[in-house]
């Protein structure tokens, strides 16, 4: 080869490299066109001009260990070649995610930090496949999840169990117990929450109810009672739903004058409003795991009894509901508001 030939070949052989620093502070050199496949690296190079030398190596997020970087670069190296068929890519992807679960999770995290979306989708699909169809014990085993939910929390009927009255009863009893447990924890907590609404006596509640006359729709009412309902909602999603179901049954079976489909829809809508209002306002609450009434247990018992009386008077037409009332305290409160909705419409 003549000198001129060499001069021509040489620049082509010298591919640009970038310097990357991984979580263990070690720095390595990587072909630029492969590294550029990762949006984060691309951004660092283009916008900030980093990575051209060892001194200004691009500092990768801490989720990217050298091992993970090596895997990710393998992935990029394969996929950045344009000529590959879809079939080839798919088959490479299938093989690529056949790694142990721990590394798969690490890889997902690393890919996410580098904003490499196709790899994140691939790994999360693989993780979904691992989770799919397995029992909770198996899943906890695989991912080392702590089994720290109490039994009654697990029993919350999020799944579609055909309504088993024993489970519902159990739920209510456990919910009560759970509240008591939380109560004890609460006693250590000095912070005063803004909602002490349930300190009111039944009379107060009644006047509150009656005072809100003039609202044609149950919807508005629900907004006013947002705070109250919020508590109930948080703890008794399930029982509310049961109440709504009971409601429906009663409504359908009962020959009430003003019972139009609209009223039914409104009652349903008001429940939806519960869900929404609570959903939006209670989000932070959920994250804290701090969902409670913080009512003094003794006062609660008093309220329970009074509410029961009231409800019994109200619900004398509905024997089935009575059964429910007599067997739990929390459920009654829920029913009270429900019943109220009905009073309103038929006032």
């Amino acid at each position: 080869m003549s000198e001129t030939d060499l001069a021509v070949i040489k620049p082509e052989m010298m591919k640009p490299y970038v310097w990357l620093q991984t979580s263990d502070d070690s720095i390595q050199q990587v072909e630029q066109e492969i590294a550029m496949f990762c949006p984060l690296i691309c951004q660092e190079i283009i916008q900030k001009g980093m990575g051209s030398s060892k001194n200004c190596a691009i500092c990768l997020p801490q989720q990217v260990s050298p091992a993970m970087l090596s895997l990710i670069l393998d992935y990029c190296r394969f996929h950045q070649v344009p000529g590959r068929s879809n079939k080839e890519r798919k088959s490479y992807d299938e093989k690529f995610v056949r790694i142990d679960t721990e590394r798969l999770c690490e890889l997902t995290s690393a890919a996410d930090s580098l904003q490499l979306k196709p790899l994140v989708d691939l790994t999360s699909r693989a993780l979904a496949r691992i989770i799919e169809g397995k029992t909770p014990e198996e899943i906890r085993d695989i991912f080392h999840l702590p089994d720290d939910l109490t039994e009654e929390e697990k029993l919350e009927p999020l799944r579609n169990i055909t309504a088993d009255p024993r489970i519902r009863l159990l739920n209510r009893l456990y919910a009560k117990k759970r509240k008591e447990l939380k109560e004890r924890e609460r006693l250590k907590n000095v912070e005063v929450e803004e909602e002490h609404v349930d300190d009111r006596s039944v009379d107060d509640l009644l006047s509150f109810i009656n005072g809100n006359d003039g609202d044609p729709k149950g919807v508005k009412t629900s907004k006013n009672k947002k705070k109250n309902r919020r508590k109930k909602e948080q703890q008794k999603n399930s029982s509310l739903k049961e109440a709504s179901e009971l409601n429906k049954k009663e409504v359908n079976g009962h020959d009430i004058r003003h019972q139009s489909s609209e009223a039914e829809i409104i009652s349903e809508t008001s429940y939806l409003h519960y869900a929404e209002d609570d959903a939006f306002t209670s989000k932070p609450e959920f994250d804290d795991g701090d969902i409670d009434d913080e009512i003094d247990p003794a006062l609660k018992e008093k309220i329970d009894r009074e509410v029961e009386d009231f409800a019994r008077r109200l619900n004398s037409d509905w024997p089935e509901r009575m059964q429910e009332l007599l067997s739990s305290g929390q459920e009654r409160k829920t029913v009270l508001f429900t019943a109220d909705g009905f009073i309103r419409r038929h006032a």
């Binding site: 989770i131 799919e132 919350e156 939806l272």
Partner: protein
């Protein structure tokens, strides 16, 4: 409780990854993650996509209504426990038919920034879509199956809608047209199983069009960006009559305004529809991007339909792939076919310089079919494969066809003529 097992691998991943995982699980499994651990209790409740298919409630009973109640309860509970925006909501459950709860779900979704709504209910009474659907301002994709749609007069359109798919939907023709024209960003439109519809489509951003049903008339009034068209036109007596009496040039009306077309697929009576009025007009438009043409159920006895094919081919200088399917009849020795048609100078001599693949199926051995094959072979210098699939495995007829084919002159030295006889 983090003891001998090792550290928790997954619960502390960012919510976007958890969402990505949960969304790829069937909804039942996703909801069940709530009992895994305290951190997982409500992770599922903020996923932005809810898909309820036939598996979400396993059919535990033969009575559809009982299973339907179960499905309704499940969906209602899921919505109730869910918190945060819902971007995609899909019901593809055959047990679920028209029931009042669906109204409430749609109302709920309309308040939760719904972007993609897919409703494929079971066979049965059509569900009447409530007016709250038309308040979903952020809708980008709407897919409805077996529903009744009645937009209110005040409806100004879905400003963000990009994809509309209506399958077996009861809606008045005016409503369909105005719905289409009021969605300025519409890119993909699919209408199937409509009856007796005369449609004028005005959608400046439309790229993909898929129509299937009994269409009397289709006019693409304002669709300059169309890239892919697939039409299947069924025939009824009404429509046949309409075809007889029509004096328009359908070719021009339909394909006159789609210069960016890349792929055209026509089924059943589409070619017949295009053939009406074709010999009256010379088509000036060239389709420089058109690379694939597929026309099925072409009647090779009708020279006008053949003219449609020829016009399309000669107006597409970059055509790469051609699939033509005949109409499955063995020729009965009737009157002598008008072979002069092929001699007439109305066919240009232009070569099909990019045509690589040709597939001809349901070939009955009509004289016109043979002439067409000859025409293609003479004018395709880069042809690689020409496959022929006869419609009947009658050895006598096929032999006749093969004899004729062997005589054909070929412009392409590399071209293979493959006769598939299995």
């Amino acid at each position: 409780m983090v003891d001998v097992m090792g550290p928790d691998l997954i619960s502390d991943l960012p919510q976007s990854i958890i969402e990505s995982i949960l969304v790829q699980l069937p909804i039942r499994d996703a909801v069940r993650t709530s009992i895994l651990s305290s951190k997982w209790r409500y992770k599922w409740a903020s996923i932005t996509q809810l898909v309820f298919d036939d598996k979400c409630v396993p059919p535990f009973s033969n009575d559809r209504e009982v299973v339907e109640r179960s499905v309704v309860k499940f969906i209602t509970r899921a919505l109730f426990l869910h918190q945060g925006p819902i971007h995609k909501f899909q019901i593809s459950n055959s047990m679920l038919q028209s029931c009042p709860e669906i109204d409430q779900w749609i109302l709920f979704l309309s308040r939760n920034d719904i972007k993609v709504l897919v409703m494929e209910l079971g066979e049965g009474e059509f569900f009447r879509i409530p007016s709250s659907l038309f308040n979903c301002r952020k809708l980008t994709r709407l897919e409805l199956s077996r529903c009744e749609l009645d937009p209110p007069h005040s409806f100004k359109g879905f400003v963000c809608l990009r994809s509309l798919n209506l399958h077996q939907v009861l809606i008045s023709p005016d409503a369909v047209e105005s719905l289409i024209s009021r969605c300025p960003l519409l890119e993909s439109l699919s209408l199937s199983y409509f009856d007796n519809l005369a449609l004028t489509i005005s959608a400046p951003n439309l790229k993909y069009l898929y129509l299937e049903g009994e269409f009397k008339d289709i006019c693409l009034e304002d669709t300059p960006l169309l890239v892919e068209i697939s039409i299947a036109m069924y025939m009824t007596d009404d429509i046949a009559e309409h075809f007889e009496q029509s004096s328009n040039c359908n070719f021009l009306k339909f394909l006159g305004g789609v210069p960016n077309l890349e792929k055209l697929v026509g089924l059943i009576y589409f070619t017949k529809y295009l053939s009406i009025g074709i010999d009256s007009v010379h088509l000036p438009i060239m389709y420089h991007n058109l690379e694939t043409i597929e026309l099925y159920q072409v009647n090779f006895e009708d020279t006008k339909e053949i003219l449609v094919i020829l016009r399309m081919i000669t107006s597409s200088p970059n055509l790469k792939e051609l699939h033509i399917s005949g109409s499955s009849n063995i020729p009965i020795a009737a009157d002598a076919p008008d072979l002069d048609f092929w001699e007439k100078g109305c066919l240009s001599d232009s070569a099909l310089n990019k045509l690589k693949t040709v597939k001809l199926s349901e070939m009955g051995g009509w004289p016109h079919e043979i002439e067409f094959i000859k025409y293609l072979l003479c004018r395709s210098p880069v042809l690689e494969t020409l496959s022929i699939i006869p419609c009947v495995f009658d050895m006598g007829n096929n032999l006749k066809m093969l004899i004729e084919l062997v005589k054909c002159r070929r412009a392409s030295s590399r071209g293979e003529v493959i006769f598939i006889h299995e």
